[in-house]
Symmetry: C2
Subunit: 603 residues, 2 copies
């Protein structure tokens, strides 16, 4: 069953390239609008409690969460390339925001909310600049395992940080240890009523996620209705607990509530651009930008793939950058494309970024008219929505998979998780990225070199230790399984010297370069040295299966003139040509091969 192929990405020109909206608006129909509108309603209902909650997580007043979800989402719908991505405050970025701002407010005389604006502005500027420099590829340097490990660890940190609200106590800290200690010390001031509300709300929300939908379907509700009810679950929790607090005046009993939230559209705000604040926030902003971008782009690409759509990473940088600049000018804080909200948006049938714009309108209405209703909303309820949301991010399968598949990946993931939990998000993710790159470099520095022989009846050469192959005592065929560059040139040199030393029969060394994609200047010098040394030992050096690009470059140097052997099109040519100089191959060879193979396997 052939499904329609992916539409080829056409590079749009001029303005349209930087304003993708101009593309989809041209074909915008009434039907599409209806679908977008329906999706928007569902997402809005889901976002109201969520954005309040993430503001709480970021350490900001609840309205900041609403503001951060209005203008940014509109700007993204103009500049972004994803059809379904929903931009706004997300868990991990909110946590990183809290960590970054607490650091600066601790040492500098600057307002918390003001620092949040500067952080969003910086992050927006960084993203736009990266986009204009077409640096979308940097996302590739964060390995999947490292990211998933980081998200999982952050999820645990976030859940731990929300426990204090569930218990009705105040706990501080940016590492698991700090948080748990702080919780333990304040445990005595725990408020029973708050606990009752918090635990019930959490349990209820978990049940809504898992148990509600099947139940409703069994009761014969149409699927769409069931979906809607599930999305509305959090709102129900918000309403019920708010009414409870109001009816029984539980706030006088010590239950912490959201309190007065201004009724207004997002205000115009000017971020503090003092140089020392910018200097202090630059690195955190850079980290937040990259992490946010990677989280957002992976969500966008996953959803786009399902509809055979394509995402342009460079334009995404600009879209997210615009969103963050918008956030910094309208009382928000750093935002990015969120996983859960985007999936909801997608499932609800959003077809274009217009859905995002409609959502923004919905939230604007909420900001103007509904805020009085959340005066009595207990913070414990918001904490419950956060905990339920982030625990869905926690996923240890990567840890298990990487353990069975590759210890190197496992090491990177484990280190990222541990460091994130013990030393905080910034150190954790930085260490993870650096570690995965260093491990890769370390591997390329000791290339895999295989001694190969001819697979009987073919022209194909394989490792003499893994296959029953023909070899010739006068020829040493080495397949180099790595590009040759400064970090591994010396290794090859030593390998060859150690191998040829006591092999008296040897007349020719052939380097099979099928896996050599590059030979840099350092490696070239090394090859010249090897050629010289082998010459002194009466052994010729030849190359085979040298790739076009590599060959082009070698021809610019005089190495090929000094080469004692030749450059063969294929290893088979090399073998035929050189072997013909000595008594032809006999069955005996195979025996010899195997004994030699055995000897090496032993070594």
């Amino acid at each position: 069953m052939n499904t329609p192929p992916v539409p080829r990405k056409k590079k749009s020109q001029g303005l349209a390239r930087y304003v993708p909206a101009l593309g989809w608006l041209r074909t915008y129909s009434g039907e599409t609008a209806t679908n977008d509108l329906i999706a928007a309603v569902i997402v809005t209902i889901m976002l109201i409690p969520q954005s309040l909650a993430y503001a709480l997580l970021a350490g900001l007043p609840p309205e900041a969460g609403l503001y951060a979800s209005i203008v940014p989402i509109m700007l993204y719908s103009v500049f972004g390339t994803s059809r379904a991505l929903a931009v706004g405050p997300v868990a991990v970025v909110s946590l990183m925001t809290a960590a970054a701002i607490n650091n600066v407010t601790a040492t500098m005389d600057v307002g918390y909310a003001a620092a949040a604006l500067t952080l969003a502005g910086l992050s927006g500027a960084i993203l736009v600049v990266m986009g204009l420099l077409r640096m979308g590829f940097v996302a590739n340097f964060l390995s999947h395992p490292v990211i998933s490990g980081f998200i999982t660890a952050s999820g645990l940190l976030i859940a731990a940080s929300q426990l204090s609200h569930i218990l009705g106590i105040s706990a501080e800290g940016h590492t698991l240890v700090e948080l748990l200690l702080s919780l333990a010390t304040h445990l005595t001031d725990a408020n029973p009523v708050t606990i009752a509300i918090g635990v019930t709300a959490t349990a209820f929300l978990f049940w809504v996620r898992s148990g509600l939908k099947p139940l409703l379907l069994r009761l014969g509700l149409p699927k769409r209705g069931a979906d809607f009810a599930t999305k509305a679950g959090p709102v129900l929790a918000v309403v019920v607990t708010a009414l409870l607090v109001w009816g029984l005046r539980l706030d006088e009993g010590g239950v912490r509530i959201v309190g007065a939230v201004p009724q207004s559209l997002p205000p115009f705000t000017m971020p503090d651009l003092s140089t020392d604040l910018i200097a202090a926030l630059f690195m955190p902003a850079l980290l937040i930008s990259i992490i946010g971008f990677v989280e957002s782009i992976s969500v966008a690409q996953t959803l786009a793939a399902k509809k055979r759509q394509r995402i342009d990473p460079d334009q995404e940088l600009i879209g997210l950058g615009a969103a963050n600049l918008g956030a910094s000018l309208t009382g928000g804080f750093p935002v990015t494309g969120g996983f859960s909200r985007s999936v909801v948006n997608f499932d609800a049938g959003a077809e274009t970024p217009a859905a995002g714009a409609f959502t923004a309108v919905g939230l604007a209405i909420a900001a103007m008219f509904l805020t009085p209703l959340i005066y009595f909303l207990p913070k414990a309820t918001l904490a419950a929505t956060i905990i339920v949301a982030v625990l869905s991010l926690v996923d240890f399968t990567t840890l298990r998979n990487s353990w069975t598949y590759s210890k190197r990946d496992f090491g990177a993931v484990a280190a990222t998780m541990l460091l994130t939990l013990l030393l905080g998000v910034e150190i954790g993710v930085t260490a993870g990225v650096l570690l995965s790159i260093l491990l890769f470099l370390y591997d390329t520095a000791r290339p895999h070199v295989a001694e190969v022989g001819l697979v009987r009846g073919t022209e194909h050469f394989r490792n003499i230790h893994r296959h029953r192959v023909l070899t010739d005592p006068s020829i040493l065929s080495l397949r180099i399984d790595q590009s040759l560059y400064f970090a591994n040139a010396r290794f090859l040199e030593d390998y060859i010297y150690d191998r040829v030393i006591d092999d008296k029969a040897l007349k020719h060394v052939v380097l099979m370069c099928s896996a050599v994609n590059e030979i840099d200047l350092s490696a070239l010098e090394t090859l010249e040295a090897i050629n010289e040394r082998l010459k002194e030992m009466g052994i010729t050096l030849s190359l085979s299966e040298v790739k076009g690009p590599v060959m082009d470059r070698l021809e610019r140097d005089d190495f090929l003139q000094h080469l004692t052997g030749a450059v063969f099109l294929s290893q088979f040519d090399a073998f035929e040509t050189l072997a013909s100089e000595v008594p032809g191959l006999s069955e005996g060879e195979t025996g010899k091969t195997l004994t030699r193979a055995a000897r090496f396997a032993g070594a």
Copy 2:
């Protein structure tokens, strides 16, 4: 003409492994002793002015140069693995020492000489620890071009820094600009007599290097004698200029002289180990250790190769570390294996590290009895010896070679040179190393992928754009010329999607993995995604020529069960098997190939 092969390096056990001296002492004969002794005499004569000069370059009193050449060389002869390496103060490291110490003495209340001891101690500790951790491989991460560029730039910096002594003025600075400005501003205080001495000495020493030896040989002097005279040249300059100053009391005419130098063996000194001094000097010490190690190991390996000897990089770290610890305890400063002195030692016939020990004795005698003789030695003469020595390090050929061979290498070299000259040695070399690594990463992130076809009459597959090959419209054969890992997985995914989109005839995609040495977890997830997507498009995905180690790992995952195609031993097998499903190949194919090739070449 077979020459004896390189003796295989045998891993010595226990104490002998960490004390190589135990090895060569066992077979130490009288004849060897004689050769070592002769070499020692020549090296000693050469080292007396050189070590005074490098102390001057490092900003320390002249005797520090002698002290740094006595105990360190003895310790290296016990712990080092090179037979000919001569350890002591060298130009580049002395320059880095001056830079590092000026930085700390500018901000902290610590003596210059005291800081030098701490720097040497730190560097020694770092080297020993690296040695015990068997981290000799780090030397590989400095590319040859970057190092040679750095050495050249340092040479220029050093020469510039010595001009002030030639002119008899005091100029400060650690970058070319600073130095030249400082020279310009003080030019008016230049001392004519000093200039006369300095210029003459410089000219004389250049002549000794180039013109003297041929002359003596023409005059019928035996080669060894001529060599000796050449080495003694600097000493002659020292003696003559010192006598001049003494005879004509030129010092009263403003010629700066070395002055009083204590007559004594190296004193026992305890480095200042205050934590903040250590903190301030750690990074410089790390840089000095690595640069010193790389310079030393490349000299040692070059010389060892000539005699079919082997160097153990890990043990070298311990040897150099011991030498630096020794320097910090006996009034010295950071040392390493020097190029010129080692070559002289080697040419003079040194056979074992004992030559080094004898040299140390010679210098100890000099320190005790000869220092009064250099009271009147003008600093200009020492400056002249430095200039002549370092200008031999200046070499722009790397710049030219890298330009023709690889723009990437050129970029790294040029950046290293410029930054070293303009921003100083520490920034220069750090930037060079990081840049060469980033450029390598950037390349591996966009792997070379070639569409391949069968070379007529062989089983060999080559790029359809470079060779006249057979292809089958239903088969897309892609040779991936790079290991697949997190940084390039996404690139491959996009490449394949873009390629298959509008190729209706396509039934099979075969990834030829002959160049794939690793598939990490991120890349595996990507392959699973590609397999899924192609499946939906009715196209199978197969792999060919998967390497043993890669295959072993793939088998630990369930990817191979989901794979829609097969894993073929060779690309030829894959082609035969899959092609047989459609009308066999006809001459027409070739035409088709070429048109397709043309289309792609155009794209």
